[in-house]
């Protein structure tokens, strides 16, 4: 029943609290550039909506028969706000109960959420990039228009970038902090035991 140090609990409280900001910041962004879009087109994913140049992107994509991007397409937007609420609640368990086991639960939850989130994004991007309308004006056999999962990718004359936005970075930092705190706790406990 390893108790958590006070400083760990305070830092964890701060980190968990910062997750509230993800309600007000975009989590993920996709950017597209092409010669005719020098300013770039972007799309930002929030907990409950998509913003950005969706209309222009939909306009570009109608040639090749991609689905029109609309918030209603994503059931995720209906429950993600609650999921993050649950994650925040789990984050406060080790803070309040002060036990290392609960910190482990929180770390596991964050990793699980990250894997599930990326998996969901991959599934969505695959469907979007390959499941094209048979009535499309332009069709290139075997061509996939899926955006990259993370980083840069060339799609015809477009260069696409996909990566975390501010909300996503907060998640990543909270994850790193949680893992860091857990590691330091274990490391410090072991050092004490040796003494």
């Amino acid at each position: 029943m390893q108790p958590l140090r006070l400083s760990t609990r305070l830092l964890l409280a701060l980190a968990t609290l910062s997750l509230v900001a993800t309600y007000f910041l975009p989590l993920w962004e996709i950017q597209l550039w092409a010669p005719q879009y020098p300013e770039g087109l972007n799309m930002k994913m929030w907990l409950n909506r998509i913003t950005g140049d969706c209309d222009i992107i939909n306009g570009v994509n109608h040639y090749i028969g991609m689905k029109t991007i609309k918030a209603e397409m994503f059931p995720e937007f209906k429950y993600m706000v609650y999921l993050v609420g649950v994650i925040i609640a789990i984050g406060f368990l080790p803070v309040v109960l002060g036990r290392r086991r609960w910190l482990m639960v929180f770390v596991a939850t964050l990793i699980l959420a990250a894997v599930a989130g990326m998996g969901d994004y991959w599934r969505w991007s695959q469907d979007y990039g390959t499941n094209l309308s048979p009535k499309a004006a332009i069709s290139i056999p075997g061509m996939s228009y899926s955006p990259p999962i993370i980083g840069y990718k060339s799609i015809l004359n477009f260069v696409a970038y996909s990566g975390p936005d501010r909300g996503g970075w907060i998640f990543i930092v909270v994850g790193v902090v949680a893992v860091g705190l857990l590691t330091t706790e274990i490391w410090l406990d072991r050092r004490q035991l040796k003494k």
């Binding site: 092409a34 332009i138 015809l156 970075w169």
Partner: protein, 661 residues
């Protein structure tokens, strides 16, 4: 504890870095190399190497630029009124805009074609089409003025025009918007949904008289209702043929964006115009009767005359079996370009992921072998594989137009992927690509349409301008780009703004045009019915309520400059003759309260402004083109009296001016 702070500082740094999200990749930043400035700089007093003759799109005219500087020299009004020159406003030019529907003051000008002799530029004429009300115009390269416009009957949406045959025997026209056509040649009142049964398209061969350039409708070829898009005549061995692209072989009449994009292949329509000529000579075909206007400018009377004609011969290729063949071409072909050797026809399926190259020799063989894959509305369709030279694989998206440098290379514009792709016609391999800013439509390589391209440059006429120049609100100039194609790699040299929305353009070496350029009109040759050849003949003549003012303009006065006795209810015609006989001394004319406009009169020319006075009082008039040091003094007065007034008609200048009673 210190270690923990280090850890936190590290995390803060990661967060900071994370906030810098996706940066613009380097490969998308415009690649302009050093040393390009001197390639486009034409020093003061020096001349450009090429005239660039560029369609003015929705401006309705044609614009003339210099290359490589990209400087705009002149806008030639053709299918639209043009305030700068008075075209379409002066009484002399109004008939140029006449059609069988009446006067049309603004049309949409798409393509230009420069006259050729034996397939080479001869520097005589520019031909231009109007898309909305189908017309073909001929412009003189001596005067840079529109000399003739002929309306195309039985057609609508004249897009595939005015592309010329090798010896300028014909300028062509084709129907883009298939529409109902009955045997009388009229446009009957039918339901739109009867498209497949009643709608037709025609190809028109507009004959060009070899010496004068005079236009007439040679004959027409009846096609099923498909949308004829672009055209190119054969060259050398394919001299007798002309090729048209078409889309909407689905024969859709609504939501064409989707419904005309369903078939894998539409057609290149190959027409043996020599054979057609023989049939017409042999009296084949039927006559259609449908009015069309023929407007001719006379350089000696400085006036246009419009005549309404009626009769045209139409050939039906379902009866005359050996004049029309269809070659299947992938997905809604747009550009249809023949290479300088006349051996290849390049179809640009604007929705296709390849560029098909057809072989003229294979086409002849397929015709001889009757290698048909079927029929379309009674017309033979040749087998795709039997006419194909090969396909350019993965060239880009949205191929539109192809130009040639005469060295075996083709340059195809790609709208969707916004680039020019250079490829080898024989090997079909892509050899270079260059991005355009943004979304190129048409392209020009000087002389590409001829058997001897001049090469050297490629010009991209872009459909989107965006941020290329200082912004001017929502409405922007159009953007063209000049590329050096003399080396292995295309090099972007220059952006230059263009007027209207340029579609096709040609470029011709200045040496073929500049020496012939007219400087002024000889006053002795002026046969205008209202010319005033000397100032002593300047006068005002009343004919009932019509008043003719025979006015002269010479530095720095208009004669007469005092006119009295004009009354409300009169129609006044100011026939102004510019008596100057020197280069670049035009005079202008404007009168206060004119519901029409101004005039601009070249040396030796006569132009007429119709003026209906609306108010009693003095109406000043003056010269609007700064002509001399005393230009400001080149002014006069017209006295307008009430209707029924007994003010006598008097006029004069200086000592002859009317005196106070």
């Amino acid at each position: 504890m210190n270690k923990r702070f280090l850890l936190l500082a590290g995390l803060a740094a990661i967060t900071g870095a994370g906030l810098l999200t996706g940066c613009k990749p380097k490969q998308l930043i415009a690649p302009v190399q050093s040393g390009v400035a001197e390639k486009v700089y034409v020093a003061p007093g020096k001349y450009d190497e090429f005239y660039n003759i560029v369609s003015g799109g929705f401006s309705g005219g044609v614009a003339i630029y210099g290359l490589p500087s990209g400087r705009l020299f002149r806008q030639i009004p053709v299918f639209a009124q043009h305030p700068e020159s008075g075209y379409g406003y002066s009484e002399e030019t109004k008939p140029m805009l006449n059609t069988s529907y009446g006067t049309q003051v603004w049309d949409d000008q798409h393509h230009v074609g420069l006259s050729t002799t034996n397939g080479e530029h001869d520097g005589r004429w520019i031909f231009a089409n109007s898309n909305n009300s189908p017309r073909v115009a001929r412009i003189s390269l001596e005067t840079f003025r529109t000399e003739e416009i002929i309306e195309i009957p039985n057609s609508s949406g004249n897009h595939s025009s005015p592309f010329l045959t090798e010896n300028t025997e014909y300028a062509v026209a084709g129907t883009r918007f298939a529409y109902p056509l009955d045997d009388e040649g009229s446009n009957p009142d039918v339901p739109i949904a009867s498209f497949k049964d009643t709608f037709k398209s025609v190809i028109s061969m507009v004959a060009v008289e070899p010496k004068t350039g005079r236009l007439s409708i040679g004959f027409q070829i009846l096609l099923p209702g498909i949308d004829i898009d672009l055209a190119r005549a054969g060259k050398k061995k394919s001299h007798d043929w002309i090729f048209f692209s078409c889309y909407n072989s689905e024969q859709a009449h609504t939501l064409l964006e989707v419904n005309a994009s369903q078939k894998d292949k539409d057609f290149i329509v190959a027409i043996n115009w020599k054979k057609c000529e023989e049939y017409v000579k042999a009296g084949k075909g039927r006559k259609s009767r449908n009015p069309y206007a023929h407007n001719v400018w006379d350089e000696h009377t400085h006036s246009a005359k419009s005549t309404i004609l009626n009769e045209v011969t139409i050939l039906d290729p379902t009866e005359l079996k050996d004049i029309v063949y269809l070659m299947p071409c992938p997905k809604s072909p747009h550009g249809c370009d023949t290479d300088p050797t006349g051996s290849y026809i390049i179809g640009s399926g604007k929705l296709a992921a390849i560029i098909p190259v057809f072989s003229f020799d294979k086409m002849l063989k397929a015709i001889a072998d009757k290698n048909h894959e079927g029929e379309f509305c009674g017309l033979p369709v040749l087998k795709y594989e039997s006419v194909l030279h090969g396909e350019v694989k993965k060239p880009g998206l949205g191929p539109l137009h192809t130009e040639f440098d005469g060295k075996g290379n083709a340059y195809t514009s790609f709208f969707v992927t916004s680039e020019i792709v250079k490829w080898n016609i024989e090997t079909l391999q892509v050899v270079d690509r260059a991005p355009t800013y943004y979304s190129v439509g048409h392209m020009t390589v000087p002389g590409s349409a001829t058997v001897k391209p001049h090469g050297k440059y490629a010009i991209a006429y872009n459909k989107i301008t965006k941020d290329r120049y200082l912004p001017t609100g929502p409405e922007l100039t159009q953007s063209a780009q000049l590329y050096d194609i003399s080396g292995d790699k295309m090099k972007l040299l220059l952006d230059f703004p263009t007027v209207g929305e340029p579609h096709y353009a040609e470029a011709i070496p200045a040496a073929l045009v500049k020496p012939k350029s007219k400087k002024f009109y000889k006053i002795e040759a002026n046969n205008h019915p209202y010319v005033t050849k000397s100032e002593k003949d300047a006068r005002v003549v009343r004919e009932g309520n019509v008043v003719h003012v025979y006015m002269t303009a010479i530095r720095s006065h208009l004669a007469p400059d005092n006119i009295e006795g004009v009354k409300i209810g009169d129609e006044v015609y100011f026939h102004v003759t510019n008596l100057e006989q020197d280069w670049d001394v035009p005079h202008g004319f404007a009168v206060k309260g004119s519901g029409n406009a101004e005039l601009l009169i070249m040396p030796g020319e006569t132009a007429t402004l119709k003026y209906v006075p609306g108010r009693v009082g003095i109406a000043p008039f003056y010269c609007t083109d700064f002509c001399s040091a005393l230009h400001q003094e080149m002014q006069g007065y017209l006295r307008v009296s009430p209707a029924g007034s007994d003010v006598p008609l008097k006029f004069g200048i200086g000592e002859t001016a009317p005196t106070a009673k």
